[in-house]
């Protein structure tokens, strides 16, 4: 931008800085909707309302909680960018947790742990692939497919365990994937950082990412531009399933048992986080860091509400309302 001719140097620089900041603010607001203002309000509120919120120890707690959720939100974001969403992420977490726990209990030693991780990831990816296959081949609504898949997968998890958790996981499993650390960094943190880096490269430096945005932006245009629409959709759901599987394996190590209800409200929560982070429900829009920010926001909110003694039932109400708010803002921001 060229500066306007004739304005004095003293007079022009300050307003332009303000203008620049405002512009940057608008850009961030466009990309992530109502998230940033909400973030500020939340941080302000909790810093006054609770003593414990801004402490180093709480920071560690929040980060650890955020790790699992962030991976799942990234998975959800990938699917949402392709123009769909995945309601089966929660059930997928449950089933993967069961499978992983069963394997690690059955086969001891490092080999057993490796096998458990591998089969856990495979379970997650297979559930995603099943979603992707049906959605890509028959071009049916992801809403119904993944909702039905959630029922099927939850059912299988409950059948396998008879409804109860699987206990007595070996300590080494927990050590490797939860309490352990590499170069002073807790292993789950490290895994999350790697996933974020890989997701960034795949979304913005790889053809797959471009195709994903194209398919989500306008599937018909994508088809005519020569983009392999079906293959891209299939991959999106499969990769998302794999990421969900990874999060589930890490979560299983953290809770120390295979839980048929581990997934809980994750489907709704992950969609809420992604939409809050500016991933549009209509596909083809939104950026990775928005999704990550959305995930961190929801985790911090939950943590703050916990510290303030708000019941988990009330938190469900708040999450639901936030999703509605985010969807409305998304609609409003992208209106022509």
């Amino acid at each position: 931008m060229k500066s306007t001719v004739g304005t004095s140097a003293a007079g022009s620089s300050e307003p332009r800085t303000i203008q620049g900041v405002t512009k940057a603010g608008i850009l961030v607001f466009r990309k992530t909707g109502a998230l940033l203002p909400l973030f500020l309000i939340m941080l302000l509120y909790f810093s006054f309302a609770t003593e414990f919120f801004f402490t180093e120890r709480n920071f560690g707690t929040v980060t650890t909680q955020a790790v699992y959720f962030t991976i799942i939100v990234i998975a959800q974001a990938i699917v949402m960018i392709s123009g769909g969403f995945d309601l089966s992420v929660g059930s997928n977490v449950s089933l993967t947790s069961i499978i992983t726990a069963m394997v690690v209990v059955t086969f001891s030693g490092p080999g057993g742990i490796l096998l458990a991780v591998a089969l856990g990831l495979l379970t997650g990816a297979l559930v995603g692939a099943a979603n992707g296959l049906i959605i890509a081949i028959f071009r049916v609504s992801p809403l119904i497919v993944t909702l039905a898949m959630a029922s099927v997968v939850s059912g299988i998890a409950l059948i396998i365990t008879g409804g109860g958790p699987i206990f007595n996981l070996p300590l080494e499993f927990r050590q490797a994937l939860y309490t352990g650390s590499v170069l002073g960094m807790p292993s789950p943190w490290l895994v999350a950082l790697i996933i974020i880096a890989v997701a960034y490269v795949v979304l913005y430096w790889h053809r797959f990412g471009r195709n994903l945005y194209a398919v989500g932006g306008n599937p018909q245009s994508a088809h005519i531009a020569g983009v392999p629409v079906r293959w891209t959709l299939f991959l999106a759901y499969t990769v998302a399933g794999l990421l969900v599987g990874l999060a589930a394996v890490l979560l299983t190590a953290r809770v120390g048992s295979g839980e048929p209800n581990l997934g809980g409200q994750l489907a709704l929560q992950s969609i809420a986080a992604a939409v809050l982070g500016g991933i549009s429900l209509r596909g083809g829009q939104g950026v990775l860091w928005g999704a990550i920010l959305g995930a961190i926001f929801l985790i911090m909110l939950r943590n703050g509400l916990d510290l303030s003694g708000v019941s988990s039932y009330m938190q469900m109400v708040i999450t639901g309302m936030l999703l509605v708010l985010a969807v409305v803002v998304d609609r409003y921001m992208n209106r022509n």
Binding site: H206, R207, Y213, G217, Q220, H223, V227, S280
Partner: protein, 505 residues
């Protein structure tokens, strides 16, 4: 005698396009009034203004002697104006009766439907019209296209209209049904209704109309008595004088190889035995009236809709039924510009950069990893070369004008270094300046050795930019011309199915 309708000086512009510069139409009671003109002559816009769907920028309408300015189709409907469009407005899963009364159901005091009365009225109307083969309780999905159209007619005449406008009413009808529609029309006329009959079938004009209004380039040309006029005279006044070409295509090189050849190509939707040959460096145009089947050619050749029969030879490779697909073709040097820019061309929420490079990503990546620097600089190169007006390569394409969006799509094809360009309505919804730019780009493509096939309903466009022209009538190529040897009149006559022996393709 007071005319039923008298529209004068109607003007309407859309961003970048003057759709209607001077719309005039006067319809008397007891008259069938033909309305003719080429595609884009402004007929649809004029009708749209009269039926309240489009507010005019200027001009006045008198209806039954009173000033009339409908603000909605409903207002025009309530005043007694009915329009039967080509595209059907029926709800497929409802019955004929339900469709005829949709939105204006007869009901008792408490809002309960009076089904009996509606059924009786519909049955009586169908009988009176002679639609014996349609029952009031039939569901629309079970009816054929022509039956559906007759239901539209029934819907329009259910309560005697004062003014009935029919857009290409016989397009989907067979001979018997056409006769039936003629007799219904005559009966309405004799009862004092005014009827506007829009058609591309000029032979109908003598059969059914009393007067004819001709439009060209959004303006009224003349209104004549049907008895006093020949078909050739109508065609002449529809096309006007041939405007000299401002953009001449580059000279053809002798012995250039054929890049695109089709033989015996047919589709499921009415294209028959299509034979096209386009050489390297050549611009070939395919023209015809809307509905002639030309809108299908591009989709068919690019594998968007399935081939029923025939072979397509592109750049030395032969494709048969089931072997054409957009992915395969775009990887082997073919670019297709779809006619529906918003629906099938651009990604409206994505930036210009991604919109441009989407088809060339295989060439711009190693093992799938993008060479983003190269991508950005080549896209910027095209933005400059084609004069695309955008703030930056990162600008969301939605913010660009239609002409600039279209240029982005051209850049998309050029970036893939395609050798065959199939361009469908390349300047649709594009303002005049951008149009000239696009013609220049098309000629540049040919000059650099590409084979270009232009599919367009714009006659002048084809005459201006092509070497050779194929006229399609009723799904078949019925004539082929050298662009410098044909007048617009002859070309348009061919569109209407009128050809000399020596022009036969």
């Amino acid at each position: 005698m007071t005319p039923i309708l008298k529209a004068s000086g109607i003007q309407k512009s859309f961003p970048g396009v003057v759709a209607l510069a001077n719309g005039e139409l006067s319809v008397n009671p007891g008259e069938v009034h033909g309305l003719v003109g080429e595609n884009g002559a402004g007929k649809s816009t004029l009708v749209s203004v009269i039926c309240g769907a489009t507010p005019p920028d200027a001009g006045s309408i008198e209806y039954l002697g009173e000033p009339f300015a409908p603000r909605s189709p409903r207002e025009a409907y309530n005043a007694g104006i009915r329009v039967v469009f080509q595209h059907l407005s029926l709800i497929p899963f409802l019955t004929v009766t339900e469709n005829l009364y949709v939105g204006r159901e007869l009901s008792g005091g408490l809002g309960f439907l009076n089904r009996g009365a509606m059924r009786k009225r519909v049955d009586a109307t169908l009988q009176e019209l002679g639609f014996a083969h349609i029952g009031g309780q039939d569901r629309i999905i079970h009816l054929s296209t022509s039956q559906r159209f007759l239901v539209e007619v029934a819907k329009a005449v259910l309560y005697a209209p004062k003014l009935l406008i029919m857009d290409e009413p016989t397009a989907a009808l067979n001979d018997a049904e056409t006769e039936l529609l003629f007799s219904i029309t005559r009966k309405l006329r004799d009862e004092g209704s005014g009827i506007v009959w829009i058609t591309h079938r000029l032979e109908e004009l003598a059969q059914i109309t009393d007067r004819i209004t001709v439009m060209r380039d959004g303006a009224w040309v003349e209104t004549v008595d049907s008895a006093d006029v020949t078909r050739d005279a109508i065609i002449s006044s529809m096309t006007g004088r041939k405007i000299t070409a401002e953009a001449l295509p580059p000279p053809l090189k002798a012995g250039a190889p054929v890049y695109l050849r089709t033989s015996g190509v047919s589709s499921d939707d009415g294209l028959h035995d299509l034979g096209i040959e386009v050489h390297s460096g050549e611009v070939v145009g395919i023209g015809g009236l809307a509905g002639s089947g030309i809108e299908e050619v591009g989709r068919l050749l690019f594998g968007v809709t399935p081939l029923r029969a025939g072979t397509v030879e592109i750049l030395g490779r032969t494709y048969r039924r089931g072997q054409l697909s957009p992915g395969k073709l775009s990887r082997s040097g073919v670019f297709y510009l779809p006619g529906d820019r918003m629906g099938e061309g651009i990604f409206d929420v994505r930036p210009v950069l991604e919109n441009t490079s989407v088809s060339a990503l295989p060439q711009l990546s190693n093992f799938g990893f993008l060479r983003r620097g190269e991508e950005r600089s080549s896209v910027r190169g095209f933005i400059e070369r084609l004069g695309i007006k955008t703030r930056s390569a990162g600008q969301v394409i939605d913010k660009l004008s239609g002409g600039n969006q279209q240029k982005v799509l051209f850049a998309r094809g050029m970036l893939t270094k395609a050798d065959v360009f199939i361009l469908e309505e390349p300047t649709q919804g594009v303002d005049v300046g951008a149009k000239a730019d696009i013609y220049k780009v098309i000629h540049e493509l040919a000059e650099n050795g590409a084979a270009v096939l232009v599919i367009s309903t714009d006659t002048r466009e084809l005459l201006t930019i092509c070497h050779r022209l194929l006229a399609v009538h009723d799904g078949r190529v019925i004539a082929s011309f050298n662009a410098d040897e044909v007048t617009e009149d002859r070309l348009v006559s061919a569109y209407f199915g009128q050809i000399d022996e020596r022009e036969t393709a």
